[in-house]
Assembly symmetry: C2
Homo-oligomer: 710 residues x 2
């Protein structure tokens, strides 16, 4: 930036130009005036609001701002003067009506400041019909020229219309869709342009309830967390899973308020209308699970001091208990006092039109991450072409299953373990039948058990006593097992395929359940298409031996079931360990497909734990060490290099290897663009992000054509 001290020189240098342009109108010292003006510009550039605006909108690395100096027109020269702002179409609905306000005998800042109440432009023709007609003509010219809806400012000085500014207008997702379709209808823009005009990210807004702007403005924000899963929810506070379930079943709307969540909490999370946590980031357990369900979640609201035992939370100096009502806005991360009115979503015909155009255009296929039939159906309705990730661990927490699961974990011998697994198998099989049925012949990628076993055991004395009693083993045995299974860094521990290597009977149970489900569906003429995905592979021999065991199990079950049809079940792996990307050529020999698990890959490539990152991530974003949260948007320079390497090496060993992504990035438009660039076949994302992914994939295809890449 130019130092303020040097302004005088600068002004003197431009003296001549300045005089010609402005001086005639202003008898006062023009140099002094110019100095003041430029100083104002600098002040405005470095105002805290401007800084945080640039931060929020990801505007980085600028060295300053350009300034145009020009003559001014005045709207405050009497009753034949005035000023106004307008959108060329309705920015809320997209309706093609001129939408603005004006004030007679006023300057622009008077309209914005809200000191006087402006009139709608719909009555402007009564005041100055000529100017209004001209305005409508200019509206059309501007829209045709810029090929988009405009946000304009104008002034009428002594009866004559002057245009002050025009820029592309901000709009809601609904308006964006309608405007895009309308403009194609009136041949103002092409379908490709229409697709590019809609921010893919915003489509999520159309699918979830939200708080209206005006209600939000009136509400009191008591804390802020991360916008972990969009939507809007209001409820009384529940501090334990049991309370959340019991009170929901008694008809109450509750928000589950927890320090963080774990797989044990899934039942309570499912019952609650929304989830609020005090730690954890955008890809914490709470965030990932909530997004998968389209449930509103605000995560990592650090100002909350939760006391689960006292069933209350301290925010600032005020304590909130079970009877208090809070609202959470999953799109902004705001925690609001009391009830805030919500708007429910509904999808328009224009939305379908846009999705249809997107589907014609995109090359990437779009799958979904879904663990239950209800999510699978929702995702298919939103256009998912299959399931890219079915996690099987959540399935073990429901009802009696957790007992059998715990019995399996507490088993001392392989026989005991197998007995417990035999009890789990039918549950798993029925889960899979449900999902296959919901997906009606679309492929379903099932990931074998991933989390470390200790996630399935309670860590408090009370819970352990309960487990001991219900299973009929000694408390000491439960404690010893919890102790044995304890890990310093569970993320890097005994999980994923490492479980299948050391306890192959778990893998065999899961594969048996998949194959039995597939056969039962086939016999009912339901075309089940499972794909088996082995997680956390880092060494070729892991996949080689596990693949063989999967194949043997498939053959055994098929024989036992006396099913004579062909069972083609692709067996693939996740690429989520850096070493897997680096040795992808070796691994590809045993993989029918790859799916990049970019959550873990990002954790390992950066050495960041997404559960712990909040202690320094805000600092890193503020100081520019990170331009964006790498768990939201793929870090091209680091993680991206490993992905490219994985794709290149994988396909070098196996031509045309099918490759997808099932990390959270699969629903992020920028990351989807990256996936398209490196040649992935599909992305998989949460059900509510499927439309976003379809549109983003189309945009990537259009842009790559623009760069001559097709």
């Amino acid at each position: 930036m130019y130092p303020v001290a040097g302004l005088k020189d600068l002004c003197r240098r431009y003296k001549r130009v300045y005089r010609r342009a402005v001086a005639a109108d202003f008898p006062q010292d023009p140099i002094k005036q110019l100095e003041l003006a430029i100083e104002a510009v600098f002040k405005s550039w470095s105002a805290p609001r401007a800084i945080s605006y640039r931060q929020i909108n990801g505007i980085h690395g600028l060295r300053g701002t350009a300034v145009n100096v020009q003559a001014m027109v005045f709207g405050n020269m009497g009753d034949d003067s005035g000023t106004g702002v307008a959108f060329t179409r309705d920015p809320s609905t997209g309706e093609n009506t001129f939408f603005g306000e004006f004030l007679i005998d006023a300057q622009g800042e008077d309209v914005v400041a809200g000191i006087r109440t402006p009139q709608p432009t719909s009555v402007m023709d009564k005041w100055n019909a000529e100017a209004f007609d001209e305005l409508l003509k200019i509206k059309k010219i501007l829209e045709r020229h810029y090929r988009d809806m405009q946000d304009i400012e104008f002034t009428i000085e002594r009866g004559r219309l002057w245009m002050l500014q025009t820029r592309t207008g901000k709009r809601t997702a609904a308006a964006a869709v309608k405007i895009a379709v309308d403009m194609v209808g009136s041949r103002m823009i092409t379908q490709d342009e229409a697709l590019l005009h809609i921010p893919a990210e915003d489509l999520v807004q159309l699918l979830l309830p939200s708080f209206a702007e005006e209600d939000l403005a009136k509400a009191t924000c008591v804390a802020r967390g991360l916008p972990a899963s969009p939507g809007a929810a209001t409820g009384r506070l529940a501090f334990t899973v049991e309370d959340a379930v019991r009170r929901t079943e008694a008809g109450e709307d509750v928000l589950l308020v927890r320090k963080e969540t774990s797989p044990e909490d899934v039942d309570g999370m499912h019952h609650a209308v929304g989830i609020l946590t005090s730690t954890g980031g955008m890809t914490s357990h709470a965030a990932v699970v909530a997004r998968g369900w389209g449930k509103c979640c605000v995560a990592g609201a650090g100002e909350l001091h939760i006391d689960a035992r006292r069933k209350s939370v301290l925010i600032g100096n005020k304590r909130y208990g079970e009877k208090d009502i809070l609202s959470i806005d999953g799109s902004t991360g705001q925690v609001l006092l009391g009830t805030v009115p919500r708007t429910e979503p509904s999808l328009s015909a224009d939305f379908s039109t846009i999705m249809g155009w997107a589907d014609k255009r995109r090359k990437l296929r779009v799958r979904t991450n879904a663990d239950a039939p209800v999510d699978a159906i929702r995702a298919r309705d939103l256009g998912a072409e299959g399931i890219g990730l079915t996690r099987t661990e959540h399935m073990f927490f429901e009802g009696d299953r957790i007992l059998a699961m715990r019995r399996m974990i507490l088993a001392d011998t392989r026989e005991e373990r197998e007995a417990a697994l035999d009890r789990l198998m039918p549950y798993q099989r029925d889960d899979f039948i449900g999902i296959f049925t919901a997906m009606k012949g679309l492929p379903v990628t099932i990931r074998l058990l991933d989390p470390p076993l200790h996630e399935f055991l309670p860590h408090d004395a009370g819970g352990q006593r309960e487990v001991a009693e219900s299973i009929g083993v000694s408390l000491a045995r439960v404690r010893r097992r919890v102790h044995q299974l304890h890990e310093f860094n569970p993320m890097l521990g005994h999980r994923g395929c490492r479980l299948a290597v050391t306890y192959p009977e778990i893998l065999e149970m899961q594969v048996t359940a998949i194959v039995e489900a597939m056969i039962r569906c086939r016999r009912k003429r339901i075309d089940a298409k499972p794909e088996i995905m082995i997680p956390l592979v880092g060494i070729e021999s892991e996949l080689r031996t596990l693949r063989q065991r999967v194949e043997e199990t498939i053959d055994r079950v098929q024989e036992r079931e006396q099913f004579s049809g062909a069972l083609k079940i692709p067996i693939g792996t996740m690429i989520e360990i850096p070493r897997a990307a680096i040795t992808a050529d070796e691994i590809a020999h045993f993989a029918d497909f790859f799916s990049f698990g970019t959550n873990d890959l990002t954790q390992l490539t950066y050495g960041f734990s997404r559960d712990d990152i909040n202690s320094f991530l805000p600092h890193y974003l503020r100081d520019g060490h990170l331009e964006r949260d790498p768990f939201q948007t793929i870090d091209r320079a680091g993680v991206g290099v490993l992905i490219e390497m994985g794709v290149r090496k994988g396909r070098s060993a196996r031509r045309g290897l099918k490759i997808g992504i099932c990390g959270e990035h699969g629903g992020d438009p920028d990351s989807i663009a990256f996936c398209a660039e490196v040649g992935l076949d599909y992305v998989s994302c949460s059900p509510f992000r499927v439309p976003t992914a379809r549109l983003a994939a189309a945009q990537a295809a259009i842009r790559s054509k623009g760069r001559g890449r097709t």
Copy 2:
């Protein structure tokens, strides 16, 4: 392997050959005999002992074994027959004397089986002088032919000598050194061959006490752990740090027995004669610290159930308490009952000769990892050319410092934190003065604070109460801070340079201490050469901003101290995060040197936590998923690719960038060979591994010349 069922066919096919070779001597059915023989070979190949031998010796990927069929000679044909085994030189001392045993009227297996007591070959000339002379001649021929000491088997059939087998003889490290030097002296081999003949790994044996083979054979092994740090130690059991310190100071030899150790335990570990843990791997805290000190450690002895409160440990069914004596063998991982006699080390002139030859040959420089003057002096005596890693965190645990450290961590404001840091600074400065003085002008790479802050706070209620009282804050505040700092995956948490980014005052204190120490040394005419190393960098901007802050601090201290001499302090970074290797070209712009932290790099590349790996690592090694523990030997296919990338990209941005390694791999011969191949400038390892590293570096240089790489 050839299936046993097919043997008959195999035998029939070779019938003709077989008949000609053997049949004449054996009237019985020759086919049947051959079948039996081949079956015996298969059995021997798949015997459990053979399998575990191949495993221990890293012999992998074989498809079977070759078998020679030949006529047999017999040593059991009367008193003029006999059989013997011998080494051409003494395998314990290396003495050039024929060293063997023979039995009259016996077969080879009788010698090995130990049913009869054989006679030494020194009396053989009294029985058959002619055969003995011939044997001595053959010994010379074999040694000259194979250019190494031989292990031979012979038989005398009816007075005539037959050689059955010769192979290179196994020997102790001391013998290896002496034999190599003697053979060069008698011009049998070159210096290069001498260097290649000595297993670099074995040199550690020469520097540490050990149990003699015969004593070990008599001792009772009660458990087995990992050979985490070589040496031999005997002591009564201590279960807490306090007990270890108190009882050692009272004159007792104690073994510190812990589930695992943490930085809080360093004082007790230092006092104990040896360390025994029940969890943790070869690179757990206990293992790394103990190796650094040359202190004996057996880690991860899973059979131990330690009850620190009752001050006893359960092994099998037996409980051992504070009064019981155990011995641990850090070279084998054995835990032995009672006292086992130890042999103390002493270095020969031949050792110095070998080291001199190695130093002439090697291209890699060898530094050491040392945190205290005593270790620095030891390493310099063993030939270290500088310190490649001084960890600063251990320094904060001694005496009063931990109080100031905790005060710093508990501080609510930057001012409080700075006040606590001001108290720590003089301690740090004096530590650095001690190390600079010990290293007498050799470079000293100091790593800034690395572990997460919670490692410095006690996690038990008692400890927290004590901290609250001694610092004069409320227990609630201590608890809250412990709670705030808690991390799910500390390895991936708020540590390394992330601490310096969020708490720059910690970095400033450490840099101040370094610069003040340097200036004070210089004023006493001690040539201090610090290098400042910033850990855990994953993003170029971390290093950019921290480097700037380090430079500013250096300037400020120099000015305040009114020191006019030039202070050239290189500032570099560790490459231990995959992303750092991938973006090494960006990072190199701000680094005067790189040092690969291969412990963390291996953890992240594999997604393995070295503290938790024991739950599946043994299984992985047994089943061949891993050929070797990647924390011991660099995994070339995975981690190695990142290291190569880091070197290539780093030097592409900064020609001739100095690059070293300071992970545990820096002392492993195979890894050192890799470091030489990828063009590193130096390795840094524990003091006791410095001779190993010097020799391994020389071997790498010789082998690379052999491959025409020089």
